[in-house]
């Protein structure tokens, strides 16, 4: 079964450092997302990406965050200057276009990247 893969599984960084989290979405999916989850609690939406641009973002997704799809397969989330409160599990997800059959509208999630900011 196709899956979304994320790297690294765990990253520890110092406050103020830049972090890049990487994701390989399912190959025929068109929509890409980043969510985060703090301490196994609520899953919060960060940003969605379609047709090589941001289609939607939440108030959490401020100027320190950016996303990119540099090579047509990877989808990255960059945090420019990490803060303690950025410590969380970050999930990448992807979904097919409207003609996605039974999978239409379903987001498939990766296993997550745990970010610890010290």
């Amino acid at each position: 079964e196709p899956e979304v893969t994320q790297t690294p599984s765990h990253q520890v960084t110092q406050m103020g450092q830049e972090v890049i989290l990487r994701c390989v979405p399912i190959s025929n999916h068109l929509y890409f997302y980043w969510y985060r989850q703090i301490l196994g609690q609520k899953v919060e939406f960060l940003v969605s990406f379609y047709n090589n641009e941001i289609s939607e973002k939440s108030e959490i997704f401020d100027d320190q965050f950016s996303v990119e799809r540099p090579d047509g397969s990877n989808f990255t989330l960059k945090i420019r200057s990490t803060k303690l409160e950025d410590s969380a599990m970050y999930f990448c997800a992807s979904s097919p276009g409207e003609g996605g059959g039974s999978g239409a509208n379903v987001l498939t999630f990766g296993a997550g990247s745990r970010l610890t900011v010290l």
């Binding site: 939406f45 939607e56 999930f91």
Partner: protein, 115 residues
């Protein structure tokens, strides 16, 4: 704006008994509704969805959910719980009538099935 409420932080049920995990939603238009499950240190796994049609939808692992428009609810049910069903369950919604594709998740309900 779209939102989801899961009123119970935790649900405890004995193995073999029926289980219900509650979810209510709020959207300005018509909803797409989803249930996801999360096992420890894992990502979210899709269980089932309501898009249109029959109000009772069936999903993976014997789970089902009933869409109730008048009560704006989408409760998750299973006739006979298994210990292996113990996990964190998330309800999610998307407004069909907006251009948004991102899902809004509830706060999650921890299901504990006792042997």
């Amino acid at each position: 704006a779209q939102s989801v409420a899961q009123p119970e932080d935790q649900v405890n049920v004995a193995e073999g008994n029926p289980l219900t995990v509650k979810c209510t939603y709020s959207v300005s238009g018509n909803p797409y509704l989803f249930w996801y499950v999360q096992y420890p240190n894992r990502g979210l796994q899709f269980l089932l969805k309501y898009i249109t049609g029959d109000n009772l939808v069936k999903g993976s692992y014997g789970f089902e959910a009933e869409f109730n428009k008048s009560q704006t609810s989408f409760h998750l049910k299973k006739p006979s719980a298994l210990v292996s069903d113990s996990a964190l369950y998330f309800c999610a919604v998307r407004d069909k009538n907006t251009g948004r594709r991102a899902l809004t998740f509830g706060s999650g309900t921890r299901l504990q099935v006792q042997p």
